[in-house]
């Protein structure tokens, strides 16, 4: 027993010693403190190549993976960018050409200059990854060592050409150029042929296959060293974190006050909450959280909450092939039954606010896109049970013993599908079920085991009612494609819009709205075509189409918007200060961009 006691004491001392050693390292408060945050784009995996084209490669956006410029992500000012490797940029009046001037002092971490040739090589690689085609890039012309001109493909109509071009990753030509054949631009030219000449079309197909094959080999490429033109360079990593140190050759190295960065891996929100509550993160990206976690996080006095709008909303969506959800008035009645404020208070109390309108986009985005004249035509579907009852009665529904019966006399029951692990959807499903049941519709949430299964079942038209994330992006095309894209049967094939009716169960049309919708203004619109058109309009030309889509969504209610997410981030001021909390566009970017712009400085040693 004595031995046992001694062993216990020794073990305790060892644990305390180790703990204190660990604390000493992580809690240091001086100019050498490493800036710690979570990297949320992909897992950190030893063995993955240090290659930005590999989706899990150990290359980290804004730190050692650089773009020409960084988008502000603001819905109303999509063309607001912060400089990256590009110092300045301009667009021709017709939007067909973009001229980009590189930072004169831009260098790679081995001291070599970043040149226009590097950008040209990167654009060629973008063709092998399929990204250049998505913004209609046609050709690249080197104007000087630091100046380059990008042109759209002949006949291109893509209006976000420069916007997308600026967000391309730039890699060193001396490292990646050898992966491309000498005739890469001839192959690219051939691949872009879209005419009817059979021989040329066959050549184009062959060239496209060659590009895809090249793409695969490029994503596998594993450079021996990390060559960065960003503010940091990867020093080492383990499966839990990546450690980067300042790149002395960075063009704005004098602005970067942070000497090292630790990027934490994470597998779920729980880990981020733990890091946040423990005060380990100097910057915490957006993560959904319940109220008690928020309170615990704010108990740490140095954690500061920063809230900015997002463009993501949670909705209750309907598959209109199921009775009675094909009836637009039933959907409207349900919108009146649901008390959105009560749902949001329980489901997403911290990073959500109740949606004011069902219009396909968040209220913060709509404030800038939707004029008051159009807004006045929209219905807010404010909680009104009498109105809901009156609509249902008009549609032939009857209430018996407190329960609504369908027009055919059968009881009305509803399963609301939600996903396991999506705590906000589950809570939301419970509250909505309770509200509907109180109203007289037997509703209950049904939890699906995984998001993968949920999406597959949704596309296969297995659910009548379920939760859906709509909007998703400040890009209005992406936002409305969440409704009037594949979910409503509209797909883009070879650059052309194709519609698949809901009768074809294999094409993912699970909403099933009619193709033509007559609006209260008297105009008839095709929402899929209007959404597709957004892709070809400049932001300042999109307003008319956006307003029509918003009105169509409000009048035909393919889904009821329940809450908008808010972008809640945290910064911790115990080790660093001067965070860009007042610059919404900058806060939408990773901390590497903040640091490159001169923000974030270590606090003086105590």
């Amino acid at each position: 027993m004595k031995l046992f006691k001694r062993l216990s004491i020794l073990l305790l001392i060892a644990v305390l010693g180790i703990s204190l050693t660990a604390c000493g390292g992580s809690q240091s408060n001086n100019s050498n403190a490493k800036f710690t945050t979570v990297y949320y784009y992909h897992p950190i995996s030893p063995g993955a190549p240090k290659n930005p084209y590999n989706t899990t490669g150990n290359s980290f956006t804004s730190f050692d993976k650089m773009q020409l410029a960084w988008s502000s992500g603001l819905a109303t000012d999509l063309n607001k960018f912060y400089p990256g490797l590009a110092k300045s940029w301009s667009e021709s009046p017709d939007g067909m050409k973009a001229t980009i001037e590189l930072q004169p002092k831009a260098k790679w971490s081995n001291g070599k200059s970043v040149t226009a040739d590097d950008v040209k090589t990167s654009m060629a690689i973008a063709f092998t990854q399929g990204t250049a085609q998505s913004f209609s890039l046609g050709s690249v012309k080197v104007l000087s060592n630091k100046k380059i001109e990008l042109s759209q493909v002949s006949g291109g109509t893509y209006k976000s050409f420069m916007h997308d071009a600026l967000q391309q990753t730039v890699v060193p030509s001396f490292q990646y150029g050898k992966l491309l054949p000498d005739d890469i631009w001839s192959v690219i030219d051939q691949s872009l042929y879209a005419g009817k000449d059979k021989t040329k079309a066959a050549q184009a197909k062959k060239a496209q296959d060659q590009l895809t094959k090249l793409g695969k080999s490029i994503t596998k490429f594993a450079p021996k060293t990390d060559i960065s033109a960003g503010p940091f360079i990867l020093k080492r990593l383990n499966p839990g974190e990546a450690y980067l140190v300042k790149n002395k050759y960075f063009y704005a190295a004098n602005k970067v006050k942070v000497n090292s960065v630790s990027l934490r891996n994470y597998t779920g929100n729980q880990q981020i909450w733990n890091y946040l509550i423990a005060g380990q993160l100097d910057a915490t990206p957006f993560t959904s959280m319940p109220k008690n976690i928020l309170n615990n996080a704010l108990n740490k006095k140095t954690n500061e909450k920063v809230t900015t709008p997002t463009y993501v909303a949670a909705s209750l969506a309907f598959n209109q092939k199921f009775d009675p959800y094909g009836n637009v008035n039933v959907r409207k009645a349900l919108a009146y039954v649901i008390d959105r404020e009560a749902v949001q208070k329980v489901a997403e109390p911290v990073v959500g606010k109740p949606a004011k309108y069902t219009d396909g986009i968040t209220d913060s985005a709509a404030a800038d896109w939707i004029d008051s004249s159009v807004r006045s035509k929209m219905n807010g579907y404010n909680h009104d049970l009498d109105k809901a009852a009156s609509i249902l009665e008009k549609e032939g529904f009857k209430k018996k013993d407190g329960k609504w019966l369908l027009p055919n006399g059968k009881p009305w029951t509803m399963n609301i599908y939600v996903v396991n692990g999506f705590s906000d959807w589950i809570q939301g499903g419970k509250v909505i079920s309770s509200q509907l049941t109180d109203f007289g519709i037997d509703a209950k949430p049904t939890i699906v085991s995984s998001f993968a299964q949920y999406q597959a079942d949704m596309a296969a038209q297995k659910y009548a009612v379920g939760f859906w994330l709509n909007s998703l992006s400040p890009n209005l095309y992406t936002a409305y494609a969440r409704i009037y894209g594949t979910p409503d049967g509209y797909n883009i094939l070879n650059g052309k819009l194709t519609y698949y009716d809901q009768k074809d169960k294999t094409k993912g049309n699970w909403i099933g709205l009619p193709e033509k919708l007559k609006l209260s203004t008297g105009e008839t619109v095709n929402p899929g075509e209007l959404t597709f058109k957004l892709n070809q309009l400049k932001p300042d030309q999109q307003k008319d189409a956006v307003q029509k889509l918003a009105l169509a969504t409000n009048e035909y209610v393919p889904m009821i918007e329940i809450w908008d997410y808010t972008h809640v981030q945290f910064v911790n001021t115990s080790r660093f200060n001067n965070f860009p909390v007042k610059d919404e566009g900058l806060m939408n970017n990773m901390p590497g961009v903040w640091m490159a712009m001169g923000y974030v400085a270590p606090k003086a040693s105590k």
Partner: protein
């Protein structure tokens, strides 16, 4: 000796057949899961802000890592690859070999589970002997109650509790990485202490969750042995109590020996909840992620490793048992 060798060869042969049978079964089972890696990846890219067209193009490039031949052909290629120790390439870890990913994760699981297993086994067995011998005294009762309590607490509850106590309430222990990446790995004290401090919480969680099981099993086994005639005979002959305790322990540990060696086999399954709570980068975490992204090759590889480990542990247990307990040899 000849019969031993024949038995050994036969067990190895049947073990290989078993591995192939399980590998075949899991190959088809995982493909029956709803969802597929392409749509999982497509949706992930959309969530990251790509437009649908960009995401589609990106997935097309990635599609090269996903076999698109008929399932029958894929199966033949898979088995053929296995026979050549080729586990294929991961889908979610684009273009990286499955064996490489598994071998990277395996050491962390071994550190966690092996240390936790040894600690819980040694402490549990010792406490089990004491609680059995002193079962009428307060110390015996305390030990038994502690075992019962800890045995009843699920791993994930224990993990969450320790995580809350030592990372949130009193944030004295690190978590989320196997060691501090700013320290040079090697045989130096800063690295070793960092490695140990990062492993404390997951290892202690594992050890505490397993300790109760060992204690209760050992106690029950010791009590059974205490009633055997040879113990009475030893006492009558006036042998020293330490000698008698030795006899008791030797006989009582036999059932635990089987459990222990089998646990070593199951060790490769990782400890999914613990690794997930502390974001410890082992096989359990890897398995969860591969299921989430429908990474078929990685799932197959992880399941296969667990299968092989359990079958090998079974064979070793069988043979070692004959040495530990001579009665089996008869």
């Amino acid at each position: 000796m000849r019969s031993f060798l024949i038995r050994l060869v036969w067990r190895i042969f049947s073990g290989i057949l078993m591995v192939l049978a399980v590998a075949s079964l899991t190959f088809f089972l995982i493909r029956l899961m709803p969802g597929d890696p392409v749509s999982a990846q497509y949706n992930q890219l959309i969530m990251q802000g790509m437009t649908p067209v960009q995401a589609e193009n990106q997935v097309k490039v990635m599609y090269g890592f996903i076999p698109d031949e008929p399932v029958g052909e894929q199966f033949i290629n898979y088995i053929w690859g296995l026979l050549h120790f080729d586990f294929g390439q991961s889908i979610s870890y684009e273009g990286i070999g499955v064996s490489h990913i598994i071998l990277t994760a395996a050491p962390w699981t071994l550190i966690l589970v092996f240390t936790g297993l040894i600690a819980s086994f040694l402490i549990g067995v010792l406490a089990g002997v004491i609680s059995a011998i002193k079962r009428s005294s307060p110390s015996g009762t305390v030990l038994t109650v502690s075992g019962s309590l800890l045995h009843g607490v699920p791993q994930f509850v224990m993990g969450l509790l320790l995580a809350y106590l030592f990372t949130a309430l009193w944030p004295i222990l690190p978590f989320g990485a196997p060691y501090d990446s700013s320290i040079d790995p090697g045989f130096n004290w800063p690295f070793i202490s960092s490695l140990m401090s990062h492993a404390v919480l997951p290892v202690v969680t594992y050890a505490l969750s397993s300790y109760g099981g060992w204690l209760l099993t050992m106690k029950s086994s010791v009590i059974t042995v205490l009633g055997d005639d040879f113990i009475l005979a030893s006492e009558i002959r006036g042998l020293k109590s330490s000698t008698i305790v030795g006899y008791i322990a030797h006989n009582a540990i036999l059932p635990l020996f089987t459990l222990f060696t089998l646990s070593i086999g199951f060790m490769f399954g990782g400890s999914v909840f613990i690794e997930n709570i502390f974001d410890y980068p082992g096989l359990g975490n890897l398995l969860l992620k591969s299921i989430d992204t429908r990474d078929y090759p990685l799932m197959s590889g992880a399941f296969l490793l667990i299968t092989i480990a359990v079958i090998v542990a079974n064979i070793i247990t069988d043979f070692l048992y004959t040495f530990v307990d001579p009665r089996i040899r008869r």
